[in-house]
């Protein structure tokens, strides 16, 4: 039985909380995680359940399939009681947004939009909207690409006006911090006024 009991000789066991970083292939997810993490991003494999409708199944009953997913993540120690993990979702997988387990319990998410192909973050936006996970959109400004304004991104992604949109540089710690701070503030707002 996993205990919620934090008491042990030698001090409390910290509890963890996670933030997801999603977006299309090569949008800069791992770069953003690495920019703020206190450790070099680590990589792990988890088995996820994918809900899918069987071909032979005329009744449309859901079948579950499992897929092994590679995730990379970083860590920010908040205090001796609290650790924050940032998980980058796998960009090469087309159907990652079906894995509800990934979103379960997440504090919130950062959707990284790639200015060279804005449409690649549509699935991430849809996913977090459906799962009710608060998110912000960070527009990773690649050199030479068209520079969108925040308002243009809000319109292109048909976002709720309350969803924060920020222009960022995923390589910069200052910029990545700003993105995370904006997410936490947004979560606090959502907490005060549930949608």
């Amino acid at each position: 039985m996993e205990s919620n009991d934090s008491e042990r000789p030698g001090g409390p066991i910290p509890s963890a909380i996670k933030i997801l970083v999603a977006g299309g292939f090569g949008a800069g997810k791992t770069t953003l995680v690495g920019a703020v993490s206190e450790i070099a991003p680590l990589s792990t494999e988890e088995v996820m359940t994918e809900a899918s409708v069987g071909v032979d199944d005329l009744a449309g009953v859901e079948q579950k399939e499992t897929t092994t997913v590679a995730l990379d993540f970083g860590r920010i120690t908040i205090s001796d009681q609290l650790v924050l993990y940032l998980f980058g979702t796998p960009g090469q997988q087309r159907f990652w947004f079906m894995w509800e387990e990934l979103a379960q319990g997440a504090l919130g998410a950062v959707v990284l939009a790639d200015t060279r192909r804005l449409d690649t973050c549509f699935p991430a936006v849809d996913f977090f909207e459906r799962q009710g996970v608060p998110f912000v959109v960070a527009v990773n400004c690649f050199d030479g690409a068209y520079r969108y304004t925040e308002q243009e991104v809000t319109e292109a992604l048909t976002l709720d006006e309350r969803v924060p949109v920020l222009l960022c540089d995923a390589r910069s710690r200052a910029s990545a911090k700003e993105v995370l701070e904006s997410l936490v503030r947004h979560v606090a707002t959502a907490l005060a006024a549930p949608v």
């Binding site: 205990s3 919620n4 963890a16 909380i17 609290l82 924050l84 319990g105 701070e181 503030r185």
Partner: protein, 124 residues
């Protein structure tokens, strides 16, 4: 705890990539411990009966002298999360490891925690 190798470990001829799956055989369905990818685990005891544990479990105990998430243990040992969960589950049920559940929707985040997270990010 020193790096420990059980006698015969390497002589068993098992592919090191395959072995972690082998050693969890028959225990996949143990649901005594429900661990999350970000459950935090820590070694609970100094007295370890090395002969009673799998080499991989001893490596886990070694790592867990500092609090770690299941995902970190998995990454450091280069083993899938699912396998690490089974090995850890066994260690927990035998009293070698303590685990703490993450914040989830069942334990909602309150303002105090959000403020702590915000302060932590700003300190970076």
């Amino acid at each position: 705890m020193a790096e420990h190798r059980e006698p015969g470990y390497d002589a068993e001829g098992a592919d090191p990539l395959v072995r972690p799956y082998v050693i969890t055989q028959g225990r996949e369905h143990s649901d005594a411990v429900r661990l999350d990818m970000i459950s935090v685990v820590i070694a609970a005891r100094a007295d370890v009966d090395e002969m009673a544990l799998e080499p991989e479990q001893l490596r886990i105990l070694d790592l867990c002298r500092r609090p770690q998430s299941v995902a970190e243990v998995s990454a450091h040992l280069d083993m899938p999360v699912a396998v690490v969960k089974v090995l850890l589950g066994d260690l927990i049920s035998r009293g070698y490891v303590l685990a703490r559940a993450p914040y989830t929707q069942q334990s909602p985040v309150n303002r105090e925690i959000l403020q702590a997270v915000l302060d932590g990010i700003q300190r970076l």
